[in-house]
């Protein structure tokens, strides 16, 4: 083990690391600005200067920037030498010459890295007497405030935005001490990861605009470890609350999933919890309201008196709630609340994952892939954080170039210099342009059939002995893809339910299986993007398709339905849902928000939102993760599982019992209790506080209601406490509500809680992976996958038949509907958050420029669009890059449920 001497003490280190990271990992306080674990080192701010000695005799030393200095065995440095301390204080003094010192009115105040570092250097007195330079601030859209005067020009924002995210519209302008970080003109930041600027910026230049609307200091927020509900990836979050209002969401570091970054939907979608669309008061059709007890009795009556009771589950409700409903109605009467097509794809995906030679890559693993094939899935819009991971994966080619020149990988600028144009291959097959096209080594643009055809051709090439496509002088795209996948050490296939094609999913499975075979049975890394936060949980739970639920009522086998956290109109055509709800004698809907389904229910029960309750979701990685209650909602609102358990007289006093019952009942879920410590967990006999130690005003918060101090709420459901008192350190990561360390008040404190900076969390990354590939040594073959796929009704043969059939139907005045996914607006709950709604597109129908010209369609022209059950009037959007013969519908926008269009054709003229 290598070691270095720091201020006379020896420490073990990893040679080759940069000295700054090494010092921070050792728990030594060394201030820095421009370095970021995910962005590497560039040596711009000169803040992390230390004294390096040449040898044991050298007493003078020389200043070096720790972030640019590789650690070597036997190195002698000093952080505390006067020359180093004075230099670091001097740097802060310079940074502060133009800083406005407006901490009391700055939203970063109290969690500001610049404050922390200024304190750390000891700079307290200002020597500069000159005037400060001032900037004009910009309007950057609904997510981000801009206050450029606070800027210390660390360049992190542009390095993050441009280099890490591939964004273009945040730039640095000007020179010398007038450098300006902003857009060319006012306007919303275009990149879907702009929200991380709030955490990347070490001071208050970029702050959370949604947070501003109900601002609270970090120390006054009550938080809990949570998981993002707005897509299936399961990014970890830390939502904060005060006075019953959810104030904001910040990233909660996870070493395998989201790392340091969230997408903007995940960060800014939280406001639906506070919104007007919430179902806060349960409602009974044509009857006056009842109390919680009365409502529970009524629900129980409906259940008991039902002549046939069915339950429809939810891909966005917790596993516990879905399991409770399944127990209430019985497994044979439990239906997955997703479109039939999604149901089929989910079953196929679950089969492939459970029985095939496939292994779902975590986001960290996706970042390390060295060849990627994206089949049909617009990941930037359906699983955004995965797209960000793929953007890093192609960069690994640069690392290889840097390795050859012995340039450390953390030398960010140097690596980008030597690695220009050297990327690992990423191939995209899609029917519409995607936001990863700029890094694609090869692209196919065609309808779902063409994508499936390409995938089968790739599979065909992979099955060839010898190098794929080598017979051809100029290998075609499929040959190139196959060759790249075979040549790669860590190939990755990305697919999902997004393009709505079972054939594409099946073809992806086939590629993965053959690739595994060619790789001597090593499982192929895949990631199937799924629609919602618990889609995979629902798939593993199992249940009938929605159409079967409708049939049960239609055919009189059931007269009562319980719909769990689901607006059926998003999953089935309007006519079908209308008929179903009209036919059902008794209907109970439990949900957190109001919608058309809840409005028609006989009984609509107010359910708690994710931040108001505990629950387990299974992410698309197959990771079971527990989210915890941040704050208690009004007493009229209860967790869905609670309503269901009471109605069914199920013997579950708390959520841990439900989790345990689910784990006991279904082998697929046997590991879920390990996702997080149970309610009985204690650290040295104490619970973990949700409030930081500086939480203020607790005794006075409700003084306008009563001067008597309210009793602190007791939490029976978890090991967390609604208190500022409790266990202060060493929280298990799954129970860590926020990130804070002595001297480190900002989000940068997270580096104190990792095994290695940027690595896994000390104590283990939260959650538990439920699906690992079947025994690899047995060498699963393509045949076994085909069997698994056949079970789901889509083998390769049926892929071919799908192709033939749909090609026959192609006609010049017909366009096949395809879903266009939108990160903002496409997700049901986040679309209810005002900031997200502002960024959502207005409804439209997209055609390619060529098709528009042929049909005489103009942009903005309103056209009638008839589906089975409705007629829409939508403006034409001409979408360059959309494959010919397709009519793109922005799926899932409010009022534009994809189920209404799925499988249909747009005819024009009608």
């Amino acid at each position: 083990m290598a070691s270095i001497e720091v201020d006379g003490r020896r420490y073990p280190v990893t040679p080759g690391d940069n000295l700054l990271k090494a010092c921070l990992e050792l728990g030594l306080d060394l201030p820095y600005f421009c370095w970021h674990p995910a962005l590497g080192a560039v040596g711009a701010c000169r803040q992390c200067a230390v004294l390096q000695y040449q040898n044991a005799e050298d007493a003078k030393g020389r200043l070096v920037m720790a972030c640019m200095t590789p650690v070597a065995d036997g190195m002698r440095v000093s952080l505390q030498a006067a020359a180093a301390r004075e230099f670091r204080a001097g740097i802060v003094e310079l940074l502060m010459t133009n800083h406005p010192h407006d901490c009391p009115v700055c939203e970063e105040g109290g969690e500001c890295h610049l404050q922390d570092m200024t304190e750390m250097t000891g700079h307290t007195a200002r020597g500069y007497r000159g005037t400060k330079r001032t900037h004009r601030n910009q309007e950057l859209g609904p997510f981000i405030n801009h206050e450029m005067n606070r800027c210390i020009a660390c360049y992190r924002c542009v390095r993050y935005y441009q280099d890490y995210c591939g964004g273009h519209d945040l730039q640095v302008f000007g020179a010398h001490n007038h450098v300006y970080f902003g857009r060319q003109e006012d306007g919303a930041l275009d990149n879907e990861f702009s929200g991380n600027l709030v955490e990347v910026c070490p001071t208050g230049v970029f702050t959370d605009k949604t947070f501003s609307k109900h601002y609270t200091r970090k120390w006054d927020l009550q938080s809990a470890p949570s998981v993002c509900p707005h897509c299936a990836l399961g990014c970890n979050t830390s939502p904060g609350e005060r006075y019953g209002v959810l104030r904001r969401v910040v990233n909660r570091y996870h070493g395998e999933v989201n790392g340091y970054f969230l997408c903007d939907r995940g960060r800014f979608g939280y406001d639906f919890v506070n919104g007007a669309a919430r179902l806060r008061q349960s409602r009974i059709r044509n009857q006056p309201p009842l109390g919680v007890k009365g409502l529970a009795n009524l629900f129980g009556q409906i259940v008991r008196n039902a002549r046939g009771l069915i339950g429809i589950g939810s891909p966005r409700a917790s596993l516990e709630a879905n399991f409770a409903l399944r127990e209430l109605v019985g497994p044979e009467h439990f239906f997955l609340g997703v479109a039939d097509s999604v149901h089929a794809m989910l079953r196929n995906i679950a089969n492939l994952l459970q029985y095939g030679p496939l292994r779902t890559a975590s986001l960290r693993e996706a970042e390390q892939a060295d060849a990627v094939l994206v089949l049909g899935e617009d990941v930037s819009n359906t699983a955004p954080r995965l797209a960000l991971a793929l953007r890093q994966a192609v960069r690994a080619g640069q690392f290889a170039a840097a390795d050859r020149l012995r340039i450390p990988r953390w030398q960010d600028a140097a690596v980008r210099t030597v690695g220009q144009g050297m990327t690992h291959p990423l191939f995209i097959a899609s029917y519409a342009p995607t936001r990863l096209d700029d890094i694609a080594a090869g692209m196919l643009r065609g309808g779902p059939e063409a994508i499936a055809s390409l995938a089968l051709a790739v599979a065909g090439h992979l099955a060839e002995t010898g190098a794929p496509g080598e017979a051809a002088a100029e290998p075609d795209l499929a040959g190139r893809i196959a060759a790249a996948l075979l040549a790669a050490e860590r190939p990755l296939i990305v697919c999902g339910t997004g393009c709505g094609s079972a054939a594409v999913v099946a073809a992806a499975g086939r590629i993965a299986a053959i690739l595994a075979e060619r790789r001597q049975g090593r499982p192929t890394a895949v990631h199937f993007a799924l629609p919602e936060c618990n889609s995979l949980g629902l798939a593993l739970l199992g249940g009938g398709p929605l159409s079967a639920a409708f049939a049960a009522v239609e055919e009189g086998r059931a007269d009562s339905v319980v719909v769990l956290e689901n607006d059926l109109y998003r999953h089935a055509p309007k006519t079908a849902v209308d008929a179903f709800l009209a036919r059902a004698v008794h209907s109970v809907v439990l949900d957190q928000v109001r919608h058309a389904t809840a409005d028609q229910a006989e009984l609509a029960l107010a359910a708690s939102a994710y931040a108001e309750s505990e629950g387990t979701w299974i992410s698309s990685e197959g990771r079971a993760q527990r989210h915890f209650q941040v704050f208690a909602p009004a007493e009229t609102i209860r967790p869905s599982w609670c309503w269901l358990a009471e109605a069914g007289a199920l013997p579950w006093p708390d959520i841990d019992t439900v989790t345990a019952a689910c784990a006991a009942a279904l082998p697929a879920f046997s590991a879920i209790p390990a996702a997080a410590p149970a309610a009985g967990f204690r650290l040295a006999g104490r619970k973990i506080p949700r409030q930081p130690h500086r939480y203020s005003g607790r005794t006075a918060m409700l003084a306008q209601v009563s001067v008597h101090e309210p009793k602190q709420r007791v939490d029976q459901e978890s090991a967390l406490a609604f208190s500022m008192e409790g266990a202060l350190g060493s929280h298990p990561p799954a129970l860590n509500p926020f990130s804070w360390a002595p001297g480190w008040n900002s989000c940068q404190s997270v580096n104190q809680f990792q095994e290695e900076i940027g690595g896994h969390l000390a104590g283990g990354d939260p959650g538990v992976r439920l699906i690992e590939p079947a025994a690899v040594s047995n060498g699963p073959t393509a045949g076994s996958v085909a069997t698994a796929a056949a079970d789901a009704g889509s083998t390769g043969d049926s892929v071919t038949s799908v192709l033939v059939e749909s090609q026959e139907e192609q006609a010049p005045n017909r366009w096949r509907f395809v879903p266009l996914h939108h990160v903002f607006g496409g997700d049901e709950l986040s679309a209810l958050a005002p900031a997200i709604a502002e960024r959502a597109p207005a409804p439209f129908l997209a055609v390619s420029p060529e098709d528009a010209a042929r049909a005489g369609l103009e942009a903005g022209q309103e056209v009638p669009v008839a589906t089975q059950g409705a007629i829409f009037r939508l403006p034409i959007r001409i979408l360059p890059g959309l494959a010919s013969g397709l009519a793109g519908i922005p799926a899932g926008l409010p009022g534009l449920a994809w189920a209404e269009f799925e499988g249909g054709w747009w005819e024009y003229p009608p």
Binding site: V42, G43, A44, C45, R46, Q47, A49, R62, L63, V64, M68, F87, G90, I91, L94, L95, T97, N98, A125, R126, G127, Y128, R129, G130, I152, A153, Y155, V172, G174, A175, H176, N177, H178, V179, A401, L405, I407, Q411, A413, A414, T417, V418, G419, Q420, G421, M422
Partner: protein, 437 residues
């Protein structure tokens, strides 16, 4: 005396066109290189000649070339970049060469490109050099037409595409890695080193950046040999050097002289000495970013080693003369304002330290100075020193300031308002009360 670099340059400011250039042996050096020399031989020849970079650093040119990977396994693409971004205040030598004899540069660039086997080269020219740009364009056309550039030059296997790029005008573009960034269309910010451009430069490929004057020497070295070239210099360095003088001298101008000519000879003989009524107070020997030298240093030989020994740098070899009726404080203020403005804004000490220095100097000359400001200025000189900043801009900017504070201290103190002077006399270092705020 041999004046190879300027022999074709007419006093009337006209340009040497291709026919005249050929008459005086033009492109013979290139022909010789291609016909009789391997690239390695050219490199060795230039090493033997003792040619050192004329852009200011004085790095041996042949040694620099030798760092470029050649041969099997080396990257197939290499670049040569001509640094014509002459923006050092007081410096106008490259402009003289470019406007007077552009083919000399083209030939030199072609020889250098051959020596590192680069088939693409760029001339990065200061944006304000409109005349030089026009003359270079004409010369490029002539050279391509005559087959001195382009495919299979002179029937050899060597081809060179030489492009002219005019800069948007930033001082920092003189720094070779900032220049490369700028050429790539990025912000002109210096790059982290390593990798040095010789390994990964323009678009990540091995790249040599050479100054205009440096390259202009090559045709003559090729034609006349290393020994001849070495013999041109007076001291340890080889060749001639363009020396310039600006300031209150009788004949400000530019002369090609043996490298190692003394400052006294340059100022007193060639520039004609000081104007009537002015005395020499000091001089910046190599442009604005070098330390002041005093009349006592006049006999220093103007070569890289001797000037360094005297406490300054040869830099570009263009002297700026300070006379006894010009205020050194205001001169330094002018320079620091220039450097503060030209900071690229990348690293903290330079970006925020230079404006502070400029502000303090401005306060001082406008009567708002405080005694402690002089200490702050001194502190900044060390703070912005070598190693503490990302590139050499700020350390260079501190050179005239630190030496002015050393040599002309009285001029600074004379600007202090009376109270501060009195405090100074009383020995109070922290005269001006509260510093919080």
């Amino acid at each position: 005396m041999d004046r190879p670099l300027t022999r074709n340059i007419q006093p009337n400011g006209s340009v040497t066109r291709l026919p005249e250039y050929l008459q005086t042996g033009g492109y013979e050096g290139l022909r010789k290189a291609l016909a009789d020399h391997s690239p390695q031989m050219v490199q060795q020849l230039v090493k033997d000649a003792g040619l050192r970079g004329r852009g200011g650093s004085g790095f041996p040119t042949g040694v620099k070339w030798n760092l470029v990977p050649l041969g099997d396994g080396a990257p197939a693409i290499r670049y040569l970049v001509v640094n014509g971004d002459e923006m050092e205040p007081g410096t106008f030598k490259d402009r003289y060469l470019l406007e007077g004899d552009p083919h000399q540069l083209l030939e030199g660039a072609a020889i250098a490109a051959y020596a590192i086997q680069a088939s693409t080269a760029y001339i990065f020219l200061r944006g304000e050099y409109h005349e030089a740009a026009a003359r270079l364009r004409d010369a490029l056309a002539e050279a391509r037409q005559a087959g001195y550039l382009g495919e299979h030059i002179g029937g050899s296997g060597f081809s060179l595409d030489l492009h002219l790029h005019t800069s948007a005008g930033r001082y920092i573009c003189g720094e070779e890695t900032a220049l490369i960034n700028s050429l790539e269309g990025r912000r002109a910010t210096p790059r982290a080193k390593p990798p040095f451009p010789q390994i990964a430069g323009l678009w990540g490929k091995p790249t040599i950046v050479n100054n205009v004057e440096t390259l202009c020497n090559l045709p003559h070295i090729l034609r006349n040999g290393a020994d001849w070239y070495r013999g041109l210099g007076r001291g340890e360095d080889g060749g001639t050097k363009l020396y310039g003088v600006s300031g209150r001298v009788k004949r400000p101008g530019l002369w090609e002289l043996p490298i190692g000519t003394s400052a006294r000879e340059i100022i007193e003989e060639h520039a004609g000495g000081m104007q009537e009524g002015y005395r020499l107070k000091g001089f910046l020997p190599g442009g604005a970013s070098t330390d002041f030298l005093l009349p006592a240093h006049l006999d220093v030989a103007m070569d890289f080693g001797s000037v360094a020994k005297a406490g300054s740098r040869l830099g570009t070899g263009t002297l700026i003369v300070l006379d006894d009726r010009t205020c050194p404080v205001r001169m330094v203020l002018n320079l620091e304002q220039f450097f503060a403005q030209e900071s690229c804004g990348w690293c903290t000490p330079c970006r925020d330290g230079l404006p502070w220095a400029a502000t303090l100097l401005k306060d001082l000359v406008e009567g708002r100075g405080r005694r402690e400001d002089l200490a702050t200025l001194e502190r900044l000189c060390g703070f912005l020193g070598p190693g503490n900043t990302f590139c050499a801009l700020a350390p260079g900017a501190m050179e005239p300031l630190q030496s002015a504070l050393k040599y002309f201290r009285e001029d600074f103190e004379n600007y202090l308002p009376p109270q501060a002077l009195a405090d100074a006399a009383a020995g109070s270092l922290l005269a001006a009360g509260g510093r919080h705020g």
